[in-house]
Symmetry: C2
Subunit: 384 residues, 2 copies
């Protein structure tokens, strides 16, 4: 199933809103102009009915598959799922992936230049919510001339966006696939986010977010990333991957001794080269604030009452950051509304990271879901 690559793709940019058409954010402030980075793969069919929007997690970007340049060593972040013959088969589907606002990968975020000052926004960027991210994506989809997405799919915070899409724009989403996600973070997950933010803000180079052009708070950001990485793995996968193996003889000092320390250190070091600390603050805050039940006055069931999408909800047994019980809450709320929902809990030791790693199991589920939904749609169309 994992055959071809989409090859070399170019990131595109869509900018909307000169005043007075600034984007109104959930926090009450306005933002504009807003630029979204996005990529597309495959061809939009004549009926504009085969578009799939992939929405990404905390540290993702628009570059979901293929290579941005022939010299690139690594493909996009979900390359094993997107391409000819893969789960999101680019021979059949027009795949779109949009970077989120608040991020640092080409979309308007804290490191972007504020046109009003000519300087990076820093903390003058208003707080962004998941709903804001989705609203901006809707502008992009409108711009692309697509009235209804065949599918919106994403893992982790991507799944939050999927849920928000289905609630905010019920007519624009035919199929929804939230993977390893939740309608709201647990207090434990909020706590981990809060610690990561504290680590960044405790870094003297952070300077209240006004560090652009100077030294970035890389030490704090590295600690935040290390904390995050622990929560993406499972106890079992860490046993399998590292055990208590040492990198050499015991150092008998405070250098790195264990393989797991070396791995985390490496994750921290590479992350700070590709990610902006302020974006880490904005995006984790968006995740913490996200609570879909608020759309229903505190009731998740009410929040989901108006969705029209058919759902495939997927969770992983060893995911303790977005545990299965949270996916089940979504499934229950949908079923109580008599919505069409399939649920799969995939047996995996990979923890939260499973949504990036369990390609085989995920592909099978998704291919069947897309196929079934399309043929059902065809059947209905024929019956009408």
């Amino acid at each position: 199933m994992h055959e071809g690559s989409v090859g070399v793709v170019k990131t595109k940019y869509f900018t909307f809103a000169e005043p007075p058409d600034d984007m109104e954010l959930e926090c009450g402030h306005k933002l504009g102009p807003v630029t979204l980075a996005y990529e597309t793969y495959g061809t939009l069919d004549a009926g504009r009915s085969n578009a799939i929007l992939i929405v990404h997690a905390l540290s993702g970007d628009a570059h979901v598959a293929g290579y941005n340049a022939p010299s690139d060593k690594k493909p996009g972040w979900w390359d094993n799922m997107v391409g000819p013959g893969k789960a999101f088969d680019t021979r059949q589907y027009h795949v779109i992936c949009s970077n989120i606002i608040g991020g640092c990968k080409g979309t308007t975020g804290p490191s972007s230049i504020n046109p009003a000052t000519g300087k990076p926004y820093g903390l003058s960027l208003p707080i962004i919510t998941v709903k804001d991210m989705v609203r901006a994506q809707k502008r992009l989809i409108d711009h692309l001339g697509i009235e209804q997405l065949l599918c919106v799919v994403g893992g982790s915070m991507g799944g939050m966006q999927v849920l928000q899409w289905a609630v905010s724009y019920p007519d624009a989403v035919k199929l929804a696939i939230p993977i390893a996600s939740t309608a709201r973070l647990s207090p434990q997950a909020i706590a981990f986010d809060a610690v990561g933010r504290q680590a960044i803000m405790a870094d003297p180079n952070w300077k209240d977010g006004d560090y652009y052009g100077g030294r970035a708070p890389v030490a704090g950001l590295a600690v935040a990333r290390m904390v995050g990485h622990i929560t993406y793995l499972s106890d079992k996968s860490m046993h399998q991957k590292f055990g208590r193996d040492l990198v050499g003889e015991p150092s008998y000092d405070f250098n790195i001794d264990f393989q797991v320390e070396s791995y985390l250190g490496h994750q921290g070091d590479t992350f700070v080269k590709r990610f902006d600390a302020n974006s880490y603050l904005y995006i984790t805050k968006a995740m913490d604030y996200f609570d879909l039940a608020q759309e229903g006055g505190g009731s998740l069931q009410k929040a989901l009452a108006g969705v029209k999408a058919r759902f495939l909800v997927v969770s992983f047994t060893s995911d303790w950051l977005f545990p299965s019980y949270q996916s089940k809450e979504i499934v229950t709320a949908l079923r109580r509304n008599n919505k069409d929902v399939s649920y799969a809990e995939i047996r995996s030791d990979y923890g939260h990271d499973a949504f990036l790693l369990e390609v085989e199991a995920l592909s099978k589920l998704i291919v069947n879901f897309l196929h079934y939904a399309r043929s059902e749609a065809g059947y209905h169309d024929a019956a009408v």
Copy 2:
């Protein structure tokens, strides 16, 4: 059962080793003189047979019960377990609690003055292991004229010391009670420790540990403590304790929004007032290095082959830092050696912190264990 207080107690100090009698540490370096802070409660009986040694966890100290001054607002850290009529009944037992070397509560550690230089050790203090901690405690027990402890008991890292006591000094330990403990940390637990250390060492005030007399790396230490605290609670207890409750209206900035953030922030802030960052490094490193199986050439069963103590091993269902499977490994290894071992897994939502909170269940188990063991001993004595 939780009747009386031991009242006002005074911390005592025991110093051993003028050269050439310096303490030889596991890392190969020597340390001396070494001072241990300790407290005692209750009366040692004529046969010196009723002494119970309590060993503490990461941030504990010698002050396990009662008050150091009449004006103290808070009693010792396990006051609900130690005192007249309590689990460790000071009317029956002579209770001793010793602070660990490497710590910062009166026992020789990185903040102590190095007599060779007249300045605090800082990182010139050699790495301390759990075995070293126990060896120093053995010197104290010898000094107190006690040949055999009726019982050694402790939770978390205290449990590691209990295990080491039983292995290093089999004739000196009659009963051993490791609670919420392990024969070795999981890679996940090592990872959390490593992140805490990184947070401290990334604080520019840390200065390679040479910060005494100047500004301490309190921001880094606070982050380390916050990470630690998340691992001491359970997902469920955090739901019960905080849920997703806000402290007020959403701030729409990076100030504290959620109750759980406020709690963690408070834990971090108060911890830095009472704990030394370097001690945090030394003690977490000791925990990471601890691997009892090494005493048996890699086999836990062999490591425990020579113990003579009768064991009560206790774990808690929701403890994911020192999970029950780790206690079961100890129990299995003991049973394969035909040792006398009781095991209790206490149903609790409190996570790792349960060893400090499940007073009722713990007291019952411990009172019965001590009582049974003593009456058995009496029976054996009579039969001889």
